[in-house]
């Protein structure tokens, strides 16, 4: 059995860091200099400080990244002026796959031709010295958004640039983003990132980690998202991370969103405490609809405003917003600023001091909690020397199974679809160890709501693209 343990910290981190930092693009980053630098950045750069000041309204964070320094700097200022509480730094996909040479070449071309050849900011190519300049006058947290299985160098450069929030994790940045990156290596590399975040933290101003709960953003049952979020919180806690946000993506069902938020918040706290990590502060982040977005601007704007309201009803600590450009590609800066403004408006006029609840939400929450506990219990009981090994095995045997993951190691045996309330139901559990009773309950909910458990491709496509109607 390999449960999360207080003494599971990676040994010899200093030596491994030397190896990672010997890369020429690390440009001589010195761990001591980075610690000194982080001690001097404005206190409001740390998410714990920002979350502490949020009152009853969720913090707002857009996404955004451009290849060149000038464009990224302009975006940063525009988003900050528009009232974003967290400023994003979205990294391009070559850097995410460690193809730094290609990223650097395409950055040069973008600079020379004034056209964007990358879908984000190539942070490693720019380096930490220049990237610090992006944020000289920014008094808010910067959030690194990427999708990188091996983010060791990227995270080092990010923290050296003054970025105190690192999104990602060994599962959530592998299963949805990669077809063949070995999952066990990814888990180990993220243990490194977690450990370095902890090393760069002080008690008062910890480097904050956030997991990516939407996963494939395609019919992911809440219990699967909740389980993976809790696992990543525990893995980070093992390495000494003290500030961690769990997250999930808008499910498409209001009831399920509210139930998922409740279970995710409560269980994360309880499991952290159960394994001796009471000193870890956890936060809840809500992602606006991550699936196919409507092309019509009016509908896209309505969806953004509507899910802004949901983030308030679930008392999220932060909401990650979409833009009306979503269906078309990388959003323009001013469109991004507009989305921030829309959500800010919604949060102001529909302020909600406590999470909304109802008997229906409680029933849904009880089911999600029971399923999540069953899956986590089965994983804690698996063999392995350390917890991440059990997590790896859980994927090998299909205990964890993410619908529509492109990854070759994903079992793809769990089949999910929507019931007539649009809640995501587990039609076939595959090898995922939820109880007989819960599996039956899921099927009953599918059948009793008049929805059929046997859907053809058109109906399934409708379930996936439910916001396109």
């Amino acid at each position: 059995m390999a449960r999360p343990r207080l003494d599971a910290r990676l040994p010899g981190i200093e030596r491994t860091r030397q190896q990672v930092l010997s890369h020429p693009l690390a440009r001589g980053i010195s761990p001591d200099e980075v610690r000194d630098f982080l001690a001097k950045v404005p206190r409001n750069r740390f998410p714990r400080v920002a979350y502490g000041k949020r009152g009853t309204v969720p913090c707002i964070q857009p996404r955004g990244g451009f290849p060149t320094f000038e464009k990224q700097q302009r975006l940063t200022r525009q988003l900050s002026d528009a009232g974003a509480d967290f400023i994003p730094l979205t990294v391009d996909s070559y850097t995410r796959h460690n193809q730094y040479d290609t990223a650097t070449q395409l950055l040069r071309r973008s600079e020379e031709e004034g056209k964007d050849y990358l879908n984000g900011y190539p942070l490693v190519s720019h380096g930490h010295e220049l990237s610090r300049e992006l944020y000289t006058d920014i008094d808010k947290p910067i959030s690194l958004r990427h999708g990188t299985p091996d983010a060791r160098l990227l995270a080092e450069v990010a923290m050296a640039s003054g970025i105190a929030e690192i999104e990602g994790g060994g599962i959530c940045y592998c299963l949805p983003y990669s077809e063949g990156f070995p999952l066990d290596r990814c888990l180990l590399y993220w243990q490194y990132v977690d450990r370095v975040c902890a090393v760069n933290s002080t008690e008062e101003f910890p480097i904050h980690r956030e997991s990516f709960g939407p996963l494939s953003a395609t019919l992911v049952p809440p219990a699967i998202a909740v389980t993976i979020q809790i696992i990543e919180a525990l893995l980070a806690a093992e390495q000494g991370v003290k500030s961690f946000a769990v997250s999930f993506g808008q499910t498409g069902s209001l009831i399920q969103d509210m139930a998922t938020a409740k279970v995710l918040r409560e269980l994360t706290g309880r499991y952290l405490a159960e394994f001796g990590f009471q000193d870890v502060r956890s936060y809840l982040v809500y992602h606006q609809w991550m699936g196919q977005f409507p092309h019509q601007i009016e509908k896209a704007a309505a969806l953004i405003a509507g899910s802004g309201l949901v983030s308030s009803m679930i008392s999220a600590d932060k909401v990650v917003v979409k833009t009306v450009d979503e269906a078309l590609g990388v959003p323009r800066a001013e469109i991004n600023a507009e989305a921030v403004d829309t959500v800010r408006y919604m949060l102001r006029i529909f302020a909600c001091a406590a999470p909304v609840t109802s008997p229906l939400i409680e029933q849904e929450a009880a089911l999600i909690e029971s399923e999540s506990r069953s899956i986590l219990g089965a994983i804690f009981d698996m063999s392995g020397d350390v917890f991440w090994e059990s997590v790896f095995r859980a994927f090998q045997v299909g205990y964890l199974d993410v619908p529509f993951s492109p990854h070759a190691d994903n079992a793809n045996k769990l089949i999910s679809m929507r019931d007539s309330n649009r809640s995501i139901r587990i039609a076939e559990r595959g090898n995922v160890p939820i109880s007989e009773q819960d599996a039956r309950h899921e099927k009953q909910l599918l059948a009793s709501s008049g929805s059929q458990a046997d859907k053809n491709y058109r109906q399934l496509l409708g379930d996936i693209n439910m916001m396109m109607v």
Partner: protein, 155 residues
């Protein structure tokens, strides 16, 4: 999980033994449409060989050869299709697979261009059917059944 109950009646011709190779081209790993495509073709009675994500033209060619496929469905969501598809037909002809039907669909170019321009471009690459930003997979399947029944390709 699949029943024939709700399927499009036009596609209910299970008497054929059509074999189709499908896959996503380039470094694209958008897998959702690919999975749905497999379900849809299987519901219409096709035997599907799914190469999944991240494929080069030669991999489609080899798979078509190995499976003696009647048709190849190439998809692209991130728009890399344009780059990879230029000599697609030539590779098939060189391998003696000139009679295999080639279909392409998805978001097959980067950026916005008039539909007829995109269709003409991919037809010039040798594709028999082009579905740019066509959300209904059923259209392609109905066309495939028609091409198999009336085209030069023997079933």
């Amino acid at each position: 999980m699949r029943t024939q109950g709700g399927a499009d009646p036009r596609l209910m011709q299970s008497e054929h033994n059509g074999r189709v190779v499908i896959g996503v081209i380039g470094d694209d790993i958008h897998v959702v449409g690919n999975r749905i495509m497999q379900l849809a073709l299987e519901e219409s009675g096709f035997q599907v060989f799914n190469l999944r994500t991240r494929n080069r033209p030669e991999q489609f060619c080899q798979a078509a050869l190995e499976t003696n496929a009647h048709a190849v469905f190439v998809s692209s969501l991130n728009g890399e299709g344009e780059y990879w598809c230029a000599d697609f037909r030539k590779q098939f002809s060189d391998a003696g697979l000139g009679a295999v039907l080639l279909y392409v669909g998805g978001n097959i170019i980067v950026g916005k261009r008039p539909m007829d321009e995109v269709v003409a471009l991919f037809k010039s690459y040798g594709f028999d059917r082009v579905y740019h930003q066509q959300p209904d997979i059923g259209v392609a399947i109905a066309d495939l059944l028609e091409d198999l029944n009336h085209g030069q390709t023997k079933t």
